[in-house]
């Protein structure tokens, strides 16, 4: 049995690594001989089989092929309908995880417990969906770990470095930036910041637009009119993007499927970098945000570490070098280091101090005695970057006489403005009648190692209390019962 297993469940690629007896992690290839598995699922219409990986990516029909499901793990309403059956993002992810488990266990032994990596900015729902996906695939999640944390663990292990590290993880779908201190085997995370929908696939989409524009200019026709052909051209743009990380210029020819002629695409690295400049500026904003969160300057960073396939883009390296005044270091194979780090994390987790990735609080009417102003605000109980596990209490007062029910909205987000935070749950507590306003209510939030939150409300006068874990409901969220039922169904499926 493989004791320490880590899985990088990526937007475009997924990988599984295990810890060898010598203490070094190793990637386990899938049954197709690939070290990483494309996070793509194809639902075949002829045979009752679900293809996962490059076979699914290359040969499937577009309306039966699911790409980048990870982008929807935080959407409670997202469903994929195939042949009348509705699949949640967690179920699609479970198919990818099942393929990894089934294929890799033939090489490294049975896999029952795993560490799975998630983007640092994954919210509560996305984390819960990831755990559900693993359960459906027949694996218990020992811990969820943030992707840049896993990469940093691997970097520290393989390079033997110490000091303050900034990890810049630009993957297929997201950007994560984490700052951490490393001292031997001890790692202390200072902050993690993430940006959703900022990664290699966004660059591919931008290139696709450029290709379509060029095609229209040269032939007067649309480059693609259906999803199948759009996918093919998208694949070509991804290839061109990769080439431009090595060459200054690439030439390509493209055609549509309507016999409108062939167009020659001449693309330079400079032009590509101009096309993605706005996205790269966003990445710089995020790095600055991480530095601000940790109250650090660029000169306080000892090492800048690159993770994720999109960090192969030369402009990414040069802009970070300009910003920090030092050459960023690559984390070995930038595509594999997250899975490798996750396997190491499975063993070393007790020596790694993580932080809360979001602020949690409640809505409160805050009265400022100086200005006499009263304002509905997001009142934070657990601030972002608090070391976890943790528990914090804030005492509030009731607002009305004879209040019979105390309601506490659980918020996620650090903005003071209530509009810009998510209300992820509500807790109600019945209290005795005929009490004046101003009774004290203690609200306690607890945050566990898997970045999951619980809320406890205590009415101080009556001693009554209520505790809840945040639960999500929505078309794309499975109930516990449904989860069990679908797990059994999934385990009987043919997944290749």
């Amino acid at each position: 049995m493989a004791e320490y297993v880590g899985i990088d469940l990526g937007t475009t690629l997924s990988g599984l690594a295990y810890l060898k007896p010598d203490g070094n992690p190793e990637i386990v290839p899938n049954a197709d001989g690939e070290r990483l598995t494309h996070s793509v699922v194809f639902f075949d219409s002829h045979e009752d089989v679900k293809l996962v990986g490059s076979a699914a990516r290359d040969g499937g029909e577009p309306d039966r092929t699911i790409f980048q499901i990870k982008r929807f793990m935080d959407d409670p309403e997202h469903l994929v309908e195939i042949d009348g059956k509705k699949w949640t993002p967690a179920e699609i992810s479970a198919l990818i995880l099942s393929k990894l488990k089934r294929d890799c266990s033939k090489i490294c032994g049975d896999i029952t417990e795993v560490v799975i990596t998630v983007p640092a900015n994954f919210n509560e729902l996305a984390r819960k969906s990831t755990i559900a996906a693993a359960e459906m695939a027949g694996m218990k999640v020992k811990r969820l770990v943030n992707e840049p944390t896993a990469a940093a663990v691997y970097y520290a292990h393989s390079q033997g470095v110490k000091g303050r590290i900034l990890v810049f993880d630009l993957g297929g779908g997201t950007l994560d930036t984490t700052i951490l201190d490393v001292e031997g085997d001890n790692i202390k995370i200072l902050t993690s910041e993430g940006a959703r929908h900022l990664g290699g696939s966004n660059f591919d989409d931008i290139l696709l637009e450029a290709y379509a524009e060029q095609y229209k200019k040269q032939t007067g026709a649309a480059l693609y009119t259906d999803e199948r052909h759009r996918r093919r051209v998208l694949q070509a743009t991804e290839d061109a993007k990769k080439m431009l990380s090595k060459l200054q210029r690439v030439n390509d020819t493209v055609a549509n499927d309507q016999n409108s002629g062939i167009a020659r695409i001449d693309l330079s690295r400079d032009h590509f970098e101009k096309l993605i400049r706005h996205m790269l500026t966003r990445t710089i904003f995020l790095v600055e945000q991480a530095l601000d969160s940790a109250k650090l300057k660029t000169s306080d960073i000892d090492h800048v570490v690159l993770v994720g396939g999109s960090t192969r883009i030369p402009k990414v390296k040069s802009m970070l070098e300009k910003m920090f005044g030092k050459v960023p270091k690559s984390c070995g194979n930038v595509d594999e280091c997250v899975a490798l780090g996750a396997a190491l994390f499975a063993k070393k987790s007790s020596r790694i101090q993580e932080v809360c990735n979001a602020s949690y609080g409640t809505l409160a009417m805050v009265y400022n005695a100086k200005t006499k102003e009263e304002k509905l605000m997001n009142s934070i109980v657990i601030p972002k970057n608090t070391p976890i596990p943790c528990s914090r209490t804030q005492v509030y007062q009731t607002s009305e006489d004879n209040e019979r029910v105390i309601e506490v909205d659980i918020t996620q987000g650090e903005d003071e403005d209530a509009k810009f935070v998510d209300v992820i749950g509500r807790l109600t507590l019945d209290v005795p009648p005929n009490r004046p306003k101003g009774c004290e209510v203690a609200v306690t939030f607890s945050y566990d190692e898997n970045q999951r939150v619980r809320a406890l409300v205590v009415d101080k006068q009556s001693g009554r209390s209520k505790e809840v874990a945040v639960t999500y409901k929505g078309a794309g969220v499975l109930s516990e019962e449904e989860l069990k039922r679908r797990s059994q169904h999934l385990r009987a499926m043919r997944i290749e």
Partner: protein, 109 residues
Amino acid sequence: MFKILKSLSKSLGGSKPAPEPKSTAKEGSLLDKVNKGAPAAAKVEPSKTPEELCGITPKMPKDEIKAQLKMLFRRYNRSASSLDAKLRGEADQMLDAIVQVREKHFGEI
């Protein structure tokens, strides 16, 4: 400074006890209510320039512009992963505006 506990229903003046939350899937509607109950926040209006969207005035000093852009980026980057689809869409447009203002005032990367 007093902090008075207020749930969404109370802040909107409802007197009936609120039921247990039925579905966080409908967070969009909850946030819409917050929007009505809370002070007005910037809305993305297509006719506005990026500066106007970001609240940048012509005579604003550089350090104030920088601070404003940082605050807005933090806010809308977070909103890009909100459970509220409407806010997510708004966030994307605001992030574009923030980047444009930065490039105009502080140069390209």
